[in-house]
Amino acid sequence: MKRARSTFILALFIIPIVVLFALGVFALWEKGWLFWAWFIIPLCWGPAYLLARRQAWSAGLREAPRVHLPAYWTHQDDEAWKIVEKAVSTATGIAPQSLLDPSHYLRAAEQLIMEVTRFYHPKAEDPLGPVTLPELLTAAQLAMEDLAELVNVYVPGSHHLSIARWRMMSKFPRWYGIASNLSYMASAIFGPAATATRYAIARLVLGPALRVMQDNLMYWFYGAFLQRVGLYAIELNSGRLKVGARRWRQLIESTERTSNTSVPAAQSPAHEPESLTITIVGQVKAGKSSLANAILGRTEAAYDDLPTTQVVSRYELIDEEWLGKLTIQDTPGYGSVDDAPTMAMAVEASAHSDIVLLAANVIDAAREVDRVFWRRFDEWFTSRHHLRRPAVVVVATHIDLLSPSMEWAPPYEAWRGAEPKSPKDEAIRSATTNLAQQVFTDAVEVIPVCTGPTSNDVYGVEEWLVPALLARLGEARAVLLLRAIHRETKKDTWKRVWEQTRDAGTMLLRKSVGA
């Protein structure tokens, strides 16, 4: 019933176009312009074909959609991903015909899962042996969900796409051939010479152009399929799927962190959903609390001219639009090299966060303590291979104190490559460059800010620091968010697609378990 109605609506849309098309063709023929007007087709499709043939273009199309790799992946996971990428890159060598065969997908998936598993368990005789059935099911579920979504998003009308229709696609060129041959016969009656020319062009240009586009679509889909299978094979082998598909998604979506990098129980109750954590470290009086306040946009971290922060303080920032829940950890400043307890506290807090902000007072030249912190921080991770070290962004604080002290007239953009417009601008530029090139060569970025004395004087936080943070942790998170929104608004479509793919998913699973 529903289908009949939508077909009717579609027909109402199409009828005028078809009628006008026919009338137009007739009018053109009557005027004797049809031969020339027809040339618009080869003129457009010809270049399209040539462009599609060019390597860059076809590679762009054939390349599977960029998959957003989890940010928490360890080095081992990254290495395993290379196997997946290799499988995707060799896909172009496969004959287009076999891409229309579902069993080919199952074979390829099976092979890829085995390769990845073997990478994680090189010595095991039966690599899949230790994997539990729920884990395997979880992987299959996640992969299928992703893939279904991919089809839903990128392939128009995909919820009508069945396996039978998929196969039918291979016959499409033949229909086109028959239809066009018929039309040629008809037009040959009206103008034999012109038709001969058109026929020749069509054979040489149009047919192959259509062919290339169709192939590209199939390779693109196949690549995406392999990527998803590979992604979850890695998740499976790293043991992260033990939590089950739903919990896994929840974790990814709420925090983008894994269960084994949780905050120590003493500081965070285990049941609390994990949020993105930014930890601020630095020397005594480097301006950590002021920085926390500037990021929070409110005065929450106790600030004083005497050193105040003695414990790790945690503040929450709820940003519905971009970050979701964000936790900012403010650590006590490490005072000197022998100040072991505070240093250990800073290292521990940083290790359990997603991004570390190292506050460095620009007017302070003693950087040795910061180097010690950095060393300890690295050491913490060298003994834990399965964890990934968060990126460290150095925040150059107190730029307002740089000479000339009395000058304060932002914007100061010289450090980002603009022409210095004042001595202060130049001083900020040189201080930032110095920190980046001489002191913190491992930092992903050095960003100058001013956090006081009053909130009116805050500069560089909204302008540079927050965008930089978003760029660091936003990408994966933004995609997850988008996915959630998408699912909410298109629930019906989602359900349909899920039903379509479920059967195929079970098949894949059966195959994998059988191996």
């Binding site: 020397q283 001219d305 005072g335 000197s336 007017i363 302070d364 303590v369 104190l401």
Partner: protein, 394 residues
């Protein structure tokens, strides 16, 4: 004066004047040696700059290694010391053990200035060695200079009138500052004899009082150091003035001698010969003056501009007279011109090297102006009916 005689006696010595000045200083003036003790960028150089008037960059280069991490800067020069500074670098760095360096300075320094940024409370690396230093010589004065006061009231002027003066109004001290000072005093306790809030900024920083608390520091040193050394600090300017007198006496003798020689050469009535010859003599004179001031050779820019200057003036004077068709008249005129330009250049060099010695870096333009000013001065004398006033002065 005493050095006059000794200089004529030791004619064979390449630079007898210099030696005599040096011995004069060692005999008559005690040299205060101050030990600057603080982390990098805590304001040590600014204190040296305030006490000497030398420029930042000159002080930076002036510090010569004493031991591996200890540096020494003698003002104005090693040969003619008025003040001496020691600096231990590396405090607060991980691999630095200050023991060796502090040992080597224990006997050399008369007083210690500990520099700490007023809100830098990571003072452990300073406190530790300071305890040992204090224990070794408890009577040697230690002054705690708390710097960077303005970091607690950014972009505001220093409180005025100065609340840290004896009769100052303490209520004017910003609350944050006063708390930080108290906290620092608590941390340093009796390791220091006096706490001095100080903020020595560069003119371009825009403070109404660029050397806030400078005099306070100087007074504390004068008061706390042993009497003779305190006096030496108080009289730094007088000492420098006397030194300048001595040096000028030495150089003016040189200038007169070279001026006489150049007058003789200038009298040769062939302009193409006398100009290069005179400039050669002038260059030689400037080199000699540099030696007296114990300064490195002239900057290249000044060396090249010098002959042109003197020479151009000479040529102009010569041409004027030749045009009158009386070539033989040019002889005395050229001789006088050569004499006067050489004297002018000599005096300008005298001024220039004195500035250099004090740790200032005059621009080459300033030097050129000084030469022109001196020539103008000399011409005024020359144009008068009795031009010989210059030559016969002594």
């Amino acid at each position: 004066m005493a050095d006059e005689r000794s200089s004529t006696d030791a004619a064979s010595n390449p630079n007898p004047q210099l030696l005599s000045t040096q011995s004069l200083f060692e005999r008559n003036y005690p040299i205060p040696s101050l030990w600057l003790f603080g982390k990098a960028q805590s304001g040590k150089t600014s204190i040296v700059r305030y006490l000497t008037g030398a420029e930042h960059a000159v002080i930076g280069n002036g510090f010569q290694p004493e031991t591996e991490r200890t540096y020494r800067y003698t003002f104005p020069t090693e040969a003619m010391p008025v003040l001496r500074f020691f600096d231990t670098r590396g405090l607060g760095e991980a691999d630095y053990d200050p023991t060796v360096d502090t040992e080597s300075l224990q006997q050399k320094a008369n007083g210690i200035i500990v520099t700490v940024r007023v809100n830098d409370f990571a003072v452990q690396p300073v406190l530790e060695p300071l305890r040992r230093i204090r224990a070794a010589r408890p009577l040697r004065p230690i002054v705690l200079a708390l710097t960077w006061l303005h970091s607690l009231y950014p972009r505001a002027q220093h409180p005025s009138p100065d609340p840290f003066l004896k009769e100052g109004d303490h209520r004017l001290v910003p609350e944050a500052l006063s708390r930080c000072i108290q906290e620092q005093q608590k941390m340093f306790g009796n390791l220091v004899d006096r706490t001095i809030p100080i903020d020595l900024t560069k003119p371009e920083d825009g403070f109404n009082v660029p050397d806030f608390g400078g005099q306070r520091l100087k007074d504390a040193l004068i008061e706390l150091l042993p009497a003779a050394l305190g006096e030496a600090i108080r009289n730094t300017d007088d000492t420098l003035a006397r030194l300048r007198e001595d040096l000028e006496q030495l150089t003016s003798r040189k200038i007169r001698r070279y001026s006489r020689i150049s007058a003789g050469v200038g009298a040769i009535p062939l302009p193409l010969i006398d100009i290069p010859a005179v400039t050669g003599i002038q260059l030689q004179m400037v080199r000699r003056i540099a030696e007296i001031y114990d300064q490195p050779p002239l900057p290249a820019a000044l060396v090249t501009s010098l002959p042109m200057l003197g020479g151009r003036f000479l040529l102009r004077q010569g041409a004027k007279i030749l045009l009158k068709g009386l070539p033989f008249l040019s002889m005395p005129a050229n001789a006088a011109t050569a004499y006067l330009t050489t004297t002018a250049i000599g005096r300008a060099a005298n001024w220039y090297y004195w500035q250099r010695m004090l740790g200032r870096l005059p621009a080459s333009e300033e030097f050129r102006q000084m030469v022109e000013h001196q020539i103008q001065d000399a011409r005024n004398h020359w144009d008068r009916p009795t031009p010989q006033g210059q030559g016969e002065a002594s």
